[in-house]
Amino acid sequence: MLTAAKNQIKVTLLTTKYAVMREMLNKATFLSNVIFMILNNSTFLIQWFLLLSIKESIGGYDIHKILYLWGLASLSYGVAHFFFKGAFHIGEIINEGKLDSYMVQPKNILISVSTASCSPSAMGDIIYGFVLFFVNDPSVVNFLLYTLFGITGGLIVTSVAIILNSLSFWFARTDSIADAGMNLMTTFATYPGTIFKGATKIILYTIVPLGATAYIPIDILTNFDWKYTLIVLGVTVLFVFLAFFIFYRGLKRYASSNLMSARI
């Protein structure tokens, strides 16, 4: 069991390494993508400086919390798209019948598909996430917590992408639903949860797990609480489990298109 897990991790790391190497073939393009993504994310700080010049705090979020919010959103998004970009294209792969080449491999299919490609610009998101952290709060304990929440956030975002993309096993052309779902997560993740009320707030803490990717981690970073940390970890495990469960339930319905393809 332990050896199998060790082997899976080894293969996953190798797949990620080769995906990164493929993207780095053209170093100038890779670097420009990273740098431009950092600049791209930085423009949003202007928005918050303007808003905070009108009101000192927005729903209890001052500049300190806003930097955490943006940093965590970037870091989670970056982790998800850099290490698991393939997860965001599972629907497309299913629709085109391209899962066959992953199914013949002796390792976990979902992990193989998810780690098969990488987004170079997502490295810009990761770097930006850490830059915001160091500008905001360079303490060691919070650094460890922040990194942990970046990883849990990335895993939750990836799990949601897998769940939404797996709908393609049951229904045709569900890519617009998956896009809309991911859009919803990204849009709401960059605004304080406290500005939303009623049903929206309930949805953001339940169906759309932004409470666990952003809002609760920010509360933990500003006022540490073990119970909330365990809740974030629990929600992460739950979403990862759900992603595997739904993907493998759907996989039983998968019909090959006999498409000849090679993974290079």
Binding site: T43, S121, N183, T187, I195
Partner: protein, 262 residues
Amino acid sequence: MKKYLYAFKFEVMTTLQYAFNFIGKMFSLFLMIFVFMNLWNFMYDDPSQAINGYTKFQMIWYVSISELIYFITRGRQTCEEISRHIKNGNIAYTINKPYDYVVYTLFTLLGRSFVSSAFYTAFIMIIGSAFTGSLPALTSIELLGVILVFALAITISLLLVIAIGLFSFIFEDSSPMYWIYSKIWLICGTLFPIEFFPVWAQNILKFTPIYVITGPSRLIVNFNAEAFVQTLIAQGIYLVFAFGLCELIYRKGMKKLNVNGG
């Protein structure tokens, strides 16, 4: 001109065939507007309060219309498409075609935008009214004026997207340029009127294309003849500038284009 009108008509008909796609995209538009309505609801303690000259009603309509223009003309896919044509050499096929590439692309995009404008404008009017309780008060002549500057804003915005896409003749991938442009456009004009910026920044922003693209949003919440004429003149200048820029990059790029046969 007739051939470009055919391209426009063809794109309108094609887009209408996939009208169902608008439903999914409307959800994304709704999300953006919904977040901002919540945000501005939070920012205004009292609906009659004015922040930098904008009441809550004006602010919500400003953001709705500027988001609408942003949504209709955002051109990530267009940029990537032009970039791809340049990188894989397909753009060489346009040399022997009896049309001007820039004008043809513009009319194709205008065809697409014409249909999406109709769908999204109706949608924005409904959700804007639901949030604020009424539509902005405009006379019929003022409304015609707003429609004119709206059409010009869309055209200028599309030309700028084409220009950025054509920059792939110089850089291998112009997408990062588009990211930066779209974010500056989003923050410095779409989500906030320029009156929200410090005076020195306002003086710079007034000379950028973002100012003329967001012209309709300013006019819809505060229409006056002087602002209308100023916007129209500035749009005329930018229209010529943006078209000239596209033609310049295209012609210079085509001269140094190398395509391997196959």
